[in-house]
Amino acid sequence: MESEWNFDQYIYMVINEDLMLPSREPVMLLDPDGRPTVDDTAALPAADDLLRGLAGMVTARRFNEQASVLVRQGRLAVYPSSYGQEACQVAAAQVLDDEDWLFPTYRDTAAAVTRGVDPVEVLGLLKGDWHSGYDPYERRVAPLATPLATQLPHAVGVAHAARLRGESTVVLAMCGDGATSEGDFHEALNFAAVFRVPVVFFVQNNQYAISVPLSRQTVAPSLAHKGVGYGVPGEQVDGNDLAALLHVLSAAVGRARAGEGPQLVEGRTYRMQAHTNADDATRYRGDDEVAAWAAKDPLLRLDAYLRGAGLLDDARAAAHADAAERLARHTRDGIAVDVVPDPEDLFRFVYSTPTPQLVEQLALVRDELSRDEPSREETPR
């Protein structure tokens, strides 16, 4: 493995910190109206990748809408929506190969769906299933992390292990702007840098940690600038520009895979809706701010570009919408099925060999439930 990456180049970059600093402005390839910012459209990702990305975003948005409906019907306990952040969600999944791992947060349900996890299982945690969802190994998507930033050291561990085994796995670890203030963020970046672990840290800067704005979170020039302190190259990118995200994240994944160590990418985006259904965002931000970001919507931008370039027609757009609708229906129907929990599951999977205390507690519960049997048989008089 050592020979696969260029040690000299790595050292040169570490010594020359300018190369680790992000560009002055977030990388943007398509402006909010869908016009390329570069003269040579060959610099854009391939048309097929962009079309796949658009289809993913259409589905991701429909999924966000459906989940928001389900939470207001009591089918989900809570839903943190990534509405407006679909470009980041889709790009994070799209730049990875099958052998790679994705480490999402609770807001990254759409990224997990894009990577192919069954949306019903993705929502298992938020519905309140005891097992919290899906099999992480099936699609190599770690469980949605609810505590802030804890997934980052986990991601580093998985990537480090893969490297020790000689696998070419890259791990993409997602977090939000708020998580960058957590200790785990520091530990993960530092360890990853020192041991040149193939992790791409992808920060979705959506401007708010619940009600705390970015200005109360950091005074660094950008979150991407945090990388240089660890010896991790940082880059910032327009988080509502799928083309730019695919470009920057693919490059980061490629460098990590080539042995150049961890990468930090900050996507500048915006949380269009409240933190969750339990939050009222109008208490801490104005409608004008939200409206300004609505104009930068990631779907409109890519749609406009692809149509303008003759790559997208109404038939294809309708096919995207149909696919999204099917996924929404599958999600709704799947979530509507109530699974009655078995109380004995509380004890079943704690240890491979249960402790005496658990055995005793299980017996107590069995006894208690058996006492319900007679009264259950009694029909109401």
Partner: protein
Amino acid sequence: MTSTTTEQTFLLPDLGEGLTEAEVVQWLVAEGDVVTMDQPVVEVETAKSVVEVPCPYAGRVGVLHAAEGECVEVGRPLITISADLEPEPDPDPEPDPQPDPQAEAYRTEEQAGSGNVLVGYGTSAHPGAGRRRRPRGTRPAALAVPAVVAAPADDGVANPEPPHDSSPVRVISPIVRRLAREAGLDLAAIPPTGAGGTVTRSDVRAAVERARAASAPSPAAAVAPAAPGEHRIPLSGFRRAASRVLSRSRAEIPEATVWVDVDATALWELREATRTPDDPGPGLLAHIARFVVAGLEAYPVLNARLDTERDEIVVSDAVNLGIAVQGETGLVAPAVLGADSMTTRELDTALRDLTARARVGRSTPGELSGGTFTLNNYGSLGVDGSAAIINHPQVAILGFGRIIDRPWVVDGQIVPRKITQMSFVFDHRVCDGGTAAAFMRTVADAIENPLPAIVRL
């Protein structure tokens, strides 16, 4: 979701992690309307925000279970949808639902006399599922009966031998204590069947059954008495919260009131004189608010709260001037935070912003709870005087009536002047009438003679 003509009732879900109720603001559909899957059918207001609730069933609207303005508890019926889409009009035009017989039986058994006015428990979307325990819906049986059980328990019918053993009763789980408490039962009176004399859950449930059977002959006791010629309006969540604060104020605070008529002509003229075509200048309320802030700085004991546990008056360093505002949902008193550091013009801007937002329910929690003193402009409601209720835990509230032309004696002549009446209600525990009167005179003198007062500011 079958294709049969069964009714499906959507129970109000918890719309925001731990909410217990919501108030129906507005129905977006009417009984008889056809709704599609996930269509928003009602706008409700929770303690957190206003939410449009989408319906999880498609079909025809059978029953809207609550009137606009009414509060619905989480887990209670919100809307019933009939899956039958044949365009047959409801044979029973009254909004009286045909309850599922099974559900009705359940209701009668489980809730007889519990005062439940929301008819029709509704069919469960997932009947049975074949598990060995029957899903009992979202409501533990004990929750539905306390009103029935507790009353007889008090007069000893359900609890013939109240033993007073001082040692705690052994239970299988804390849940058992809660179930007994919610049912109004004494744990010590419940015969235990668990190992070592432990009271189990089923013991409590059996005791609840017995208590219910004993009280069955008088099930009407707990039903809200709906006398002819009257109807009942449930208190909204807002009114209930307000009711608690107001009751507490009147129950705890020995208040006293002073009042005085004030000639506001000079201040009126001053306000008019500062108007220009493109700048209306500060309003009267801003001037009065500025004088009140000055008065509170002179008599800080009125800008305070009383710590009754430590017998101390807790004086606030800042003046957070509360303003009573009639909002869409009711009276609120958000505060201009840090009013003591503002000029009259700044106060004017802050007051306009504060009251505009308060009217549409956009006050921040900090503004709603941060007030240290309240100014009450009830004159805007067209009245002259009010014995207002102090906004607990504050200790005083100053009110103004309308400003109208009245005959007034000036230099021995009766002349028309702009007169308002000021009333001042204060907590007599923090000061005596002399201080209260001196404070009010400070404000009144400033209004009658604004220029020297402004010079002194």
